[in-house]
Symmetry: C2
Subunit: 361 residues, 2 copies
């Protein structure tokens, strides 16, 4: 029987790279680390580097050791927010356009006690700079560099590594227009190979062992110098604008439509939903605050009670004639939706009784 | 100089697996394929298999060859929707809990002309079944199996492979409670290694070459038979319920709060936003239809004009006294937000003039 030749991709974890300090020559350290395993960067290789050591080399330590303050400073836009036992937790867009829970702010393994690291300023440039440095030492530039970070994902548990920066490597493998084996067009058209490379490298790098660099061998097709191969930076993988269907969480969207965008003072004033279960009366009260947000006068709560099983109840007095009751009721409908509540409203003059039940979804 | 031993993960693409037909013994085919490269499944290996060949072996061909109808039948819940040149495109939760553009429905390379494949019914069981079959042939069961599919992601361009099913392999590597090198707790706590494995395997499998199986070697820590290693299925990676902050797109959320949930008849009646640019007058008209949705009478459009540069305008006559104008205006505010419009309303008796401009965001 003839033995088939199988394609092999090797992901090699580069051990022995010393603690990286601000101002360090990262290319020299990575090159020496690779050499320490008796290896060299070969044509077609991809060097995958954790952003943490790039940040360390660039001296990207925050001025503050207050993690929350640093995350806030690195935040461009809040995407979703929930209260937890330690305060508001936010999913945010960071300076590099990446959406994550901490804007890439890193308080562990920073190599400097309490100091907090932030992401490299321009990750694609950082990747290109590292590649240029490595090219001098390797004697060729037929290789790629990827700078990785770690983030959670909507709809999926756990975190994975992704490509924060890239240089000299194809980030998307595009199959558009190619026929499948039956001659039909392929369903899947554009593979984010740079993210897959980051994920593959993470398997060997791990989070606890000191392996901040991986060498990926066997994917020369992604680093071909051929001009038909676009070699964009990883910034291309950031999806923003009209194509971003998830620019906010669903709860946040309903609240934002009523004037309480996530991350705003209005949102804090209304109160932020908890990650945990909350009594129905609390959710109902928050819905009332949200509904009343842009009205000149806030209804006063005459009575509130109970959980949503079988129902929570709130009785409101809507003051003056300057608050349009119809407007308040319509806003309440949206606000209740944002709390996962369905409610029944009874109106008697300027007194409104809401009975709510719901799942908290 | 002492040469360091570097950890290596090898991702081996298994060539030579023949076209899989309904009822085929998948374990026998995969085993023979691996043997065709002079290899065997070794303790600690992980066999990563494209769900397509599992679906083929299970004969998971849809009754219909109408792709839209098949996607609809596989859809549990619509998460986001946009109009495209070919009709409404939806991002949906499929039967297995995975959110994607096509509910895993696969119309390319199905191996049967126009036939359409759907995902395996219970992917974790399918993985376990394949593992049991392979264990008999390999003579041991100290290996894992992952069944993969491909999907897009929010916030990131392109698609990546993920773990749809898993057996005998750790799907999450949990670092909770572990100290970092400085003695602080690690920021990153739970790595979705099964998804990273799927991504790594995709790099060697590719989409065009016939390589539906990869053998991943060097990650024995993820398949240790040790009882301290939880070996859940990939179902554990599906995030649903209160922890899912992105159960709908932001546009869809605002519309749903007004009674037009994505995928509903109401949403279709209101009209679905286009992926492309639309005239402001069209967006304004859709906002009016959405705002009027639950009101007993629909306002009639007296006049509509223009784009949002500098502004679009619509003049409405609100009939009868049975439509509460305040309620309509409050609903219009939310509806306009869902269209990315900011508007100014003038009210003269039962005639409402809206002037809108906006970015389409």
């Amino acid at each position: 029987m003839e033995v088939q030749a199988f394609p092999v991709v090797s992901v090699i974890g580069v051990r022995g790279i010393p603690e990286v300090v601000a101002g360090a020559d990262l290319a020299a350290l990575v090159h020496a680390g690779i050499a320490g395993g008796g290896l060299a960067i070969e044509p077609g290789d991809i060097v995958v580097v954790t952003s943490k050591i790039v940040s360390k080399a660039h001296g990207r330590y925050a001025d503050s050791t207050d993690r929350r303050a640093v995350v806030a400073a690195e935040t461009v836009r809040v995407v979703a927010e929930r209260m937890t036992s330690t305060g508001a937790t936010r999913i945010v867009e960071g300076r590099c356009g990446v959406v994550s829970a901490a804007a890439g702010v890193d308080a562990s393994n920073t190599g400097a006690g309490e100091a907090i690291l932030v992401l490299p300023e321009r990750p694609d440039e950082a990747a290109e700079q590292l590649r240029a440095g490595l090219a001098l030492l390797a004697g060729h530039d037929a290789f790629g560099v990827i700078v990785t970070d770690t983030a959670g994902r909507p709809w999926r548990g756990g975190q994975t590594d992704f490509a924060l920066g890239a240089a000299g490597v194809r980030v998307i493998e595009d199959y558009r227009g190619l026929p499948d084996a039956d001659g039909r067009q392929l369903d899947v058209t554009a593979i984010a190979v740079a993210d897959e490379l980051a994920a593959a490298a993470d398997l060997v790098k791990g989070k606890v062992e000191r392996i901040p660099v991986a060498l990926v061998r066997g994917l020369g097709r992604l680093v071909a110098p051929d001009s038909s191969v676009p070699r964009d930076g990883a910034a291309r993988l950031v999806r923003r604008g009209p194509g971003d269907f998830f620019a906010m969480g669903h709860i946040e969207a309903a609240r934002a439509a009523l004037g309480a965008a996530p991350g705003s003072a209005e949102s804090v004033a209304v109160g932020i939903r908890s990650v945990g279960a909350e009594p129905g009366s609390e959710r109902l009260a928050r819905a009332v605050r949200l509904a009343a947000l842009t009205l000149t006068d806030t209804p006063s709560v005459l009575e509130a009670s109970g959980d949503t099983e079988p129902e929570a109840r709130v009785v409101l007095h809507v003051p003056g004639d300057d608050v349009d009751l119809g407007r308040l009721i319509a806003r309440l409908e949206v606000a209740l939706w944002s709390e996962g509540l369905t409610a029944h409203a009874e109106r008697a003059g300027r007194v409104l009784t809401l009975r709510a039940n719901g799942s908290g979804g």
